[in-house]
């Protein structure tokens, strides 16, 4: 099981490498196979992971709070593109990005927590 996971990870890395996308530590670009399942941002240890998520137009992104403390996901733009209710532990918020652009957001309870979704 462990081996197959690592092989899949390697394959994904190879795909990304071949396509020439930059994958910095804090950014993440979805590969074709992962589009269906991986559009998730984990809120853990007072950080959004990945802090920058790049997705194709039409993608639904889901944030899930893994912390013991509640957080929110609020667009920084004016007017706000999206705004979650407060998310307690394990609660989720989803938003579908129908237009290309860069969408910065933050946690309105802990404003030092910031992230962005790049929609291409």
């Amino acid at each position: 099981m462990r081996r197959s996971v690592s092989i899949a990870g390697l394959a994904a890395a190879l795909v990304l490498g071949t396509l020439g996308f930059g994958t910095g530590q804090k950014s993440y670009v979805a590969s074709a196979q992962e589009k269906m399942s991986m559009m998730e941002v984990k809120i853990d240890n007072f950080t959004f992971g990945p802090a920058t998520l790049t997705v194709p137009v039409g993608t639904t992104v889901t944030w899930i709070n893994k912390d013991d403390i509640p957080h929110t996901v609020v667009s920084t733009d004016d007017p706000k593109a999206f705004k979650s209710k407060v998310l307690d532990t394990e609660e989720k918020f989803s938003f579908t990005f129908s237009k290309a652009g860069t969408y910065p957001y933050f946690c309105s309870i802990h404003p030092k927590m910031t992230g962005k979704v790049v929609v291409q």
């Binding site: 240890n45 407060v86 802990h110």
Partner: protein, 322 residues
């Protein structure tokens, strides 16, 4: 006052000789509140955990009150599965004081998720406290989802704007400020222009000799901006208070006791009645600190008090104000 004194952090985790285990233990004694007494126009604040060490004479003054903070009612994670129990324990401590405090200040995060039943529970528990008046300011956990509407309905009668207000008790001017609304991405706590203008006007007519006590949830001094532990425009607020000889600032939010003296201003943060948080920069994030259950339950215990006594020069400010 010497230059060194000016920016002194009275609770210095770095030079206290406490190892990590000892540190966790020392944090575990958090969880009560602070007994504040005004004496000769200067406020002294004593942790209720250590109140047995304080003589009756020290507890007497012109005015005394209790500060409690961060009850986080509704929190039920391993760091403290019984926040109602620890709040009740704090109330018991308050009721056991020989010098009865006149009122209580709650410096915010009354609730964990702004749920009506969480506020109801806190109200119910605090009803059993001997001091009947409680003055509140909101924490960010009290204004979730509704921009503080519920908080204002419950606790904001007679307050201005987003819930700020002032009152006088025995010659001391108290100011409750709100710095948890309209927080900006990447930023710290915020007071905002409207509130600052109100504050300037509120203190303008007061004599310079009037002792001032300001209370707000997020610290009004930069405890650790990396974790958001500070307030963007607090310098402006403090500038309006420069002319006063005695200014005390009481905050919560960081779930640990810290004190600092800067010029005419003494800053205090109160412990949480719910769960401890790590010292600034001592963990990856400011999340709740899990301590072994027996230690958490011992937050009010004598053992921990003795331990703390042996390790820290904490909880008592030898005020340097003239």
């Amino acid at each position: 006052m010497s230059e060194k004194k000016k920016d002194e952090l009275l609770h210095d985790h770095n030079r206290d000789g406490v190892d990590r285990r000892g540190f966790l233990k020392c944090m575990a004694w958090a969880g009560t509140g602070a007994f504040c007494v005004m004496k000769g126009g200067v406020l002294n604040s004593y942790s209720l955990s250590r109140i047995s060490e304080i003589s009756t004479a020290e507890m007497m003054g012109e005015l005394s009150f209790v500060q409690i903070s961060d009850s986080h009612m509704g929190f039920n994670k391993p760091a403290n599965p019984d926040v109602a129990g620890t709040l009740k324990a704090a109330v018991d401590k308050i009721n056991g004081l020989t010098a009865a405090p006149e009122f209580m200040l709650h410096t915010g995060d009354i609730s964990h998720l702004s749920k009506p039943e969480e506020f109801d529970t806190v109200d119910q528990i605090l009803k059993s406290a001997k001091p009947k008046d409680v003055f509140y300011v909101p924490g960010e956990h009290d204004v979730l989802n509704d921009d503080g509407k519920q908080f204002l309905e419950r606790y904001g009668k007679g307050s201005k704007g987003g819930g700020w207000y002032s009152f006088d008790k025995k010659g001391v001017h108290f100011v409750g400020l709100v710095n948890v609304m309209n927080l900006k991405a990447g930023g710290l706590g915020t007071l905002g222009r409207e509130q600052l203008e109100w504050l300037e006007d509120d203190v303008k007519h007061l004599k310079h000799s009037t002792p001032i006590v300001v209370f707000a949830h997020i610290p009004l001094w930069s405890v650790y901006p990396e974790w958001g532990w500070g307030t963007e425009d607090s310098a402006q607020a403090l500038a309006y208070l420069k002319k006063f000889g005695s200014v005390t600032v009481l905050n919560g939010h960081i779930h640990q006791t810290m004190q600092k003296v800067e010029g005419n201003v003494t800053f205090h943060t109160a412990a949480s009645t719910a769960f401890p948080q790590p010292a600034p920069g001592k963990a990856d994030s400011p999340g709740p600190m899990k301590v072994p259950a027996e230690q958490l339950k011992g937050v009010l215990g004598i053992t921990d008090v003795n331990y703390v006594q042996g390790q820290h020069a904490l909880a008592v400010v030898d005020s340097t104000l003239a």
